[in-house]
Subunit: 433 residues, 2 copies
């Protein structure tokens, strides 16, 4: 039986618009879905049922008067637990929580458009890791591949969207934390250009690399959120004639054969659709060296970002986390400066490559979701992090097929978010046809 | 007797244009001036007489054919010794030197406009200090106040321009190193918006705060260089109706009474000219705390920037310099991150203040040039460094009068360099009338 939660975001918005469904029904259906699925999934940590139902009622009244605030008016959404919602606990995935008085800027932006904050979602501790296996709150399951990781650090966001607990979720992405779980859960994750979405009210981890980004079930659904999140409208793009660049560095990244096979088949379909796929050599050398540099930058900035919580609640940080932060805090400043410059230089190389192609195309991750008890592969974020170094927009979309989820990643030019999502929409359209 | 070197840059350009003078005459006159004055001044470290005369001849031939490259075609200029000129030694003020194969990007830009690199100019060791009293190459004298410091770190650039050894010089400015010596030598120094002028081929000290900037004898002269350096044209600005902000923080900076008196008189004249001067509270607290934060950032980045020279030629760095760099290199990364964020936050506060006034107005330095044997005052760069934190353009222009030189500083909005120089031109015009 198909219920309200199985509709696409676009269908929900259409139904609200023509009066076929109400926001109260929509919120109620998602509350029911959370109640049913979350005991096993553990993707949702906090639900504001009363607040959401009141907001839904108000939305329905507005709609009735013809005063709808936006296409998202009445649509419920979830937020990773490092993004503030006024009056609801924020934990940042730590073993403590606090109640912010106000919304994060991005929460406020969605709320002002009539969207309804329904749930706070599970995450990897402090957004620093790729499994969402949280030492304080337990593990998040992968709804499309049970017993496997949903990825991280925004694992709860991707799992909740994939399982129909919310049609839209916000995550954060420092090295790939929106796109990796989106790929693993078979949904779409988007990391916009650096600073395009405000981070005020989002618990920082690394000021240099942090981004906020949305997760939805399709690029069509994501497109609907773009005008509200950014004031941009998605651009219409023709696939035929597009030039996409495949970074030569990907071939040195030990891509799992299952992933390579699915991606190769997708590339063939794109070529048949008139897309030119050209190998580009970015030339920044070993991705693993960059990853280690980025990790040091994150650990040092994280030590400062989390300093106060760490001092006040030392028990709220796992040994693993406090070990990483101690390492970053105490490293020599010159090492931090070198690491910072290394990733900044890599970012410039990536930006330069984007001057000669319409977008880069590559897998989101070198592997499909690993078993929940397995150790996260070290190269898990090697293919996503390059867009964080460059600050350029990047989107992961699922490649349809029968096997384990595989994400296809597109990386666009700085502030060309609307064009990148236009390309992604055309690619999604072709791959689903 | 007034010679060619006493003409303004604008007069030189006009004379070249109408054929009254030749570039060969102009270069020859400056070579003669250098020969006469430099033994005492020590502002010039290297002269390319042959290269400059050949370039002057070529310029004159172009002019004769009506093929002048720009208003600066045939004008000689000097460069601080951390800016590369192909085939001429760069020392960065260290006890060693190397011969770059190519020009710095900014040198090339001027050379392509027909301007002639004539001399490499003295500087504080590694651009890290405010006296230009160099442990390897001796002290630079102040041409307008002999026996006193010319300031630094671009002390040779300001002294050479003030003494008529070159009509235009390039310097670098990390905390005030263009504007401080300009103020002390009674000339005009301009630090453009961050990254407006390219730093490729300039020995780095601190990637976060380094800027390249020109020094000339008047704002009118500087205005002439703007289209060549940046493609911007200076904006015409009416003084009447301008709103300039006086930062409240300046009053806590122990301004020397002689400086305060001269500045107050200048403010009175501006008010009489229709300018509204409004106190603005920037609100970033103690300037000395910011200065210490900035110094740590410079020391840590400097340790990385100079690492190779330091390793290869440890004897080329004074004990003072290597002590500072060691301190920065070995500091905990978390301290660097905090210091970086402190100055970045201050920069945002300054930028916000510039949203409500046309420019900030304040002294360039809290004091007039100090005696050559005195220790540099600790607060010397407190009033200039704020524009480095913000990355906003800032210009120091002399306040005419009989006493020791006093610089008046104007700070404008990010990338509003053309408007800022327009304001400076109008202020210069009023103060000289």
């Amino acid at each position: 039986m198909t219920g309200l939660v199985d509709l696409s975001l676009a269908e929900m918005a259409g139904g609200l618009d023509d009066g076929a469904i109400s926001s109260v029904d929509l919120v109620t259906a998602h509350l029911t879905a959370i109640e049913a699925a979350n005991p096993i999934l553990n993707a949702v940590w906090d639900v504001d049922a009363d607040g959401a139902l009141a907001a839904a009622l108000a939305s329905d009244v507005r709609r009735g008067r013809g005063d709808s605030l936006s296409e998202l008016d009445g649509i419920p959404f979830g937020l990773k637990d490092n993004i503030d919602v006024a009056g609801r606990p924020t934990s940042d995935g730590l073993g403590t929580a606090w109640i912010p008085a106000g919304d994060a800027a991005i929460t406020e932006r969605l709320r002002e458009a009539g969207a309804i904050p329904l749930a706070k979602l599970a995450m990897h501790e402090a957004a620093l890791g790729g499994t969402s296996d949280n030492p304080h709150r337990g593990r998040v399951d992968n709804p499309v591949l049970p017993g496997h990781t949903p990825g991280g650090s925004s694992g709860g966001s991707a799992a909740a969207v994939a399982a129909g607990l919310v049609p839209l979720a916000l995550g954060t992405d420092t090295l790939g934390s929106v796109r990796i779980p989106a790929a693993y859960c078979g949904v779409v994750g988007f990391k916009p250009s650096f600073d395009l979405l405000p981070t005020l009210g989002v618990t920082p981890l690394c000021w240099t690399l942090d981004h906020v980004g949305p997760i939805a079930r399709s690029v069509i659904d994501l497109a609907l959120t773009l005008p509200v999140l950014t004031n941009m409208e998605i651009e219409e793009v023709e696939l035929s004639g597009l030039v996409l660049g495949w970074p030569a560095e990907v071939d040195a990244c030990e891509i799992e054969p299952a992933v390579q096979g699915v991606i190769d088949a997708a590339l063939d379909r794109l070529r048949a659709g008139g897309v030119q796929i050209r190998q580009v050599k970015l030339g920044f050398g070993d991705l693993s060296i960059l990853r280690r540099a980025a990790l040091l930058v994150i650990e040092a900035e994280g030590a400062v970002a989390l300093e106060k919580i760490w001092e006040d609640h030392p028990e709220a940080l796992s040994e693993t986390l406090s070990g990483m932060l101690s390492y970053g805090r105490d490293a020599a400043a010159a090492r931090y400066v070198k690491a910072y410059r290394r990733i900044e230089d890599a970012g410039e190389v990536i930006s330069a490559a984007l001057d000669v192609v319409d977008a880069l195309i590559l897998p989101t991750t070198p592997q499909t979701p690993f078993a929940a008890d397995a150790r996260a592969p070290v190269n898990q974020a090697d293919l996503t992090s390059i867009a964080n170094y460059a600050g350029t927009p990047a989107v992961s979309l699922p490649v349809p097929g029968g096997g384990a989820p595989v994400g296809l990643q597109l990386v666009g030019g700085f502030y060309e978010d609307a064009q990148l999502l236009g390309i992604a929409l055309a690619v999604e359209d072709l791959l689903r046809s």
